[in-house]
């Protein structure tokens, strides 16, 4: 029993947490009424994806992927590809968040609020 749990925690546990994070982010986007919170939840989701990819690139006994004298086998370094991909994903999420914040600024200016129900009410005036 304990070994099963141990094996689970060691080999799959982080997936569980990542997907939990993803699900929470998603539910936050759906449940929250405040646009700022929605934006934060969106970021949480993106972070979950980044974790997920990094999990895939993990390797037992691997070091950071910068070549060191004497280590040349593939098993010696962790997988560089997910890290590279996630650099891109991070930049993209940065861009998205920035644009989201700029839009929020405009919404706040125009509608005087970033609460969804108030915005829906005031939207009809335009």
């Amino acid at each position: 029993m304990m070994t099963t749990i141990n094996a689970f925690l060691a080999y799959k546990g982080i997936y569980f947490l990542t997907f939990l994070l993803l699900a929470l982010g998603l539910s936050g986007i759906i449940v929250c009424k405040n646009y700022m919170k929605k934006l934060i939840c969106m970021n949480v989701m993106q972070v979950a994806v980044i974790f997920f990819f990094l999990c895939l690139g993990q390797k037992d006994g691997g070091t950071i992927p910068v070549a060191v004298e004497g280590l040349s086998a593939a098993a010696d370094y962790i997988n560089p590809l997910p890290h590279g991909l996630m650099l891109t994903a991070i930049v993209v999420s940065l861009g998205t968040t920035g644009v989201g914040l700029a839009l929020l600024l405009r919404i706040k200016e125009k509608y005087g609020s970033i609460e969804e129900d108030k915005i829906i009410k005031r939207e009809k005036k335009f």
Binding site: Q46, F53, T88, A89, G100, L103, E123
Partner: protein
């Protein structure tokens, strides 16, 4: 010649990067740069199409790293045609935006041109790429520029853009999860390599879950029925000039992405393939009926057209769900046709708004007197939406129906017929308004009836769309021949 695939994408990209710099000379200079670049892309995409038809599909390896090491562009006849479509509608839309410009601030005009140029780049890249992660990056470029163009559409545009941003980012995230799972079981990001590995030792359960994520992601991006919530207000409130591009083409590219995943990566031999077909079939049927029913209730033409887009996406996905070569041809033909129909309707709507300053259906009484050509396009595009021959809408419906009958799914034919009739209800409402109803007080008061119909910049897209709808319809067999080349090879 061998660099054509990359040059098509690079031209608008470079134009976008340099547009702001060039705009510092004169506010129109950047515009001409982008227009030249998109036109150049159009010419090259036509060349590429000819090349692909003559010599078969083209691979382009970035940095000369062979797959699966590097990134690859893969162009067959289907996406070569889509490239042409994007460039054409892109160039037309770009031409069309000028009369809507309200500022001559060099930076702002430059930035707005950059947005359209990058939107085109993103769509071109999504179509041409053969790498799943590269597709994600292009997807985000497309989305970010679309958010911006939607947010420029006034007070409600900002909120629509923000909502689209949330939903769109969730979709992109789900897409990444799907890609992650596939990467986890194959270890590659290249589409053809992935397809080869999956067919050999694909984990069927993982593939199923990945596909669920992908359907949700692409479904959201193309506004399929349960995921369409963001779309109507986004299309409605997008910036007037770029609306034809956003509503005409942007939704189609994720649909093509889904096609790639279903037929190129997973392949029809996949164990649960039938399940996807049924799921997509249900979604598309719901889309067609729901979109049409909601469209009937709208009083604003833009919103009506937006809901009708939900329905029309259903046609395309229906083709994928039927899955015979003819039905797939129908789906792609509808993709091209609908780009011109919906683009054309939005061109016409924009022209009317430019002249009369209204998009409310009740103000459309007898505007045909002042704008005969625009209204001609409205009528032809509407008829095409309904599926009256000899417009392209009829023929795409024909192929879909023949495909459905071929597999014995008569229910799809019934839905096609029903959806056409629902379309007829609201499009004839529009035609009735334009030709029959008395002039409303608002349009009566305007002195706009004098003078030329619309500026030449607007007239060209209108005429091109008008001709395209008819010519695509009449010469559809040629296009189907071209499509068949690829579909037979790739899909089945």
């Amino acid at each position: 010649m061998r660099h054509l695939p990359v040059l098509i994408v690079l031209l608008p990209l470079v134009a976008a990067q340099l547009c702001l710099l060039i705009s510092k000379i004169h506010y129109k200079a950047g515009r001409y740069t982008v227009l030249a670049a998109v036109t150049g892309s159009l010419v090259m995409s036509v060349m590429l199409l000819r090349q692909v038809i003559a010599e078969g599909s083209v691979h382009y390896y970035f940095g000369n790293y062979k797959v699966p090491i590097g990134i690859e562009f893969y162009v067959d006849t289907v996406n070569a045609l889509i490239l042409v479509l994007i460039c054409l509608i892109g160039a037309l839309t770009f031409m069309y935006t000028t009369p809507f410009a309200r500022t001559t601030d060099k930076t702002l005009v430059g930035a707005a041109n950059t947005m359209i140029s990058l939107l085109i780049t993103g769509m071109l890249g999504m179509t041409a790429t053969g790498d799943v992660f590269n597709l994600y990056v292009f997807l985000e470029i497309t989305s970010l520029s679309a958010y911006c163009l939607i947010s420029l559409g006034g007070s409600r545009g900002i909120v629509a853009a923000f909502r689209y941003l949330l939903v769109g980012t969730v979709a992109a995230t789900l897409y990444l999860i799907g890609v992650g799972i596939l990467y986890g079981i194959t270890g590659t990001l290249n589409m053809s390599d992935m397809a080869a590995i999956l067919s050999k030792w694909g984990n069927e359960g993982a593939m199923l879950i990945a596909m669920c994520f992908l359907i949700a992601a692409f479904g959201t991006k193309m506004a399929l029925f349960p995921f369409h919530g963001w779309q109507p207000s986004a299309y409605t409130h997008a910036e007037a000039g770029s609306r034809p591009l956003i509503s005409g083409v942007m939704g189609k590219i994720p649909a093509y992405g889904l096609f790639r995943y279903m037929y190129c990566i997973y392949g029809t031999d996949y164990k649960y393939f039938r399940v996807f077909l049924i799921v997509l079939g249900i979604l598309s049927v719901c889309s067609m009926l729901y979109g049409s029913i909601r469209a009937m209730a709208q009083t604003d033409i833009r919103k009506m057209l937006a809901y009708s887009s939900v329905a029309q996406m259903g046609y395309i996905i229906l083709g994928f769900a039927i899955g015979t070569p003819l039905a797939l041809c129908g789906a792609f033909l509808h993709m091209f046709g609908h780009a011109f129909m919906k683009g054309g309707l939005f061109f016409a709507t924009g022209a009317i708004r430019h002249k009369f300053g209204t998009t409310k259906l009740e103000d459309f009484g007898r505007i045909y007197k002042a704008m005969p050509f625009t209204c001609g396009l409205l009528v032809v595009a509407s008829l095409s939406m309904i599926g009256i021959p000899p417009t392209v809408g009829f023929f795409s419906k024909w192929y879909l129906a023949v495909g459905a009958a071929g597999t014995g799914e008569f229910i799809y034919i019934a839905v096609l017929v029903l959806s056409s009739l629902l379309n007829a209800i609201y499009f004839f409402k529009l035609i009735e308004k334009v030709f029959i109803q008395q002039k409303s007080a608002k349009t009566e008061a305007l002195p706009a009836a004098e003078g030329p119909e619309v500026p030449l910049d607007m007239m060209i897209p209108i005429v091109v769309c008008f001709l395209a709808i008819l010519l695509l319809g009449i010469f559809n067999a040629k296009i189907v021949d071209i499509l068949m080349l690829a579909i037979k090879g790739v899909a089945l």
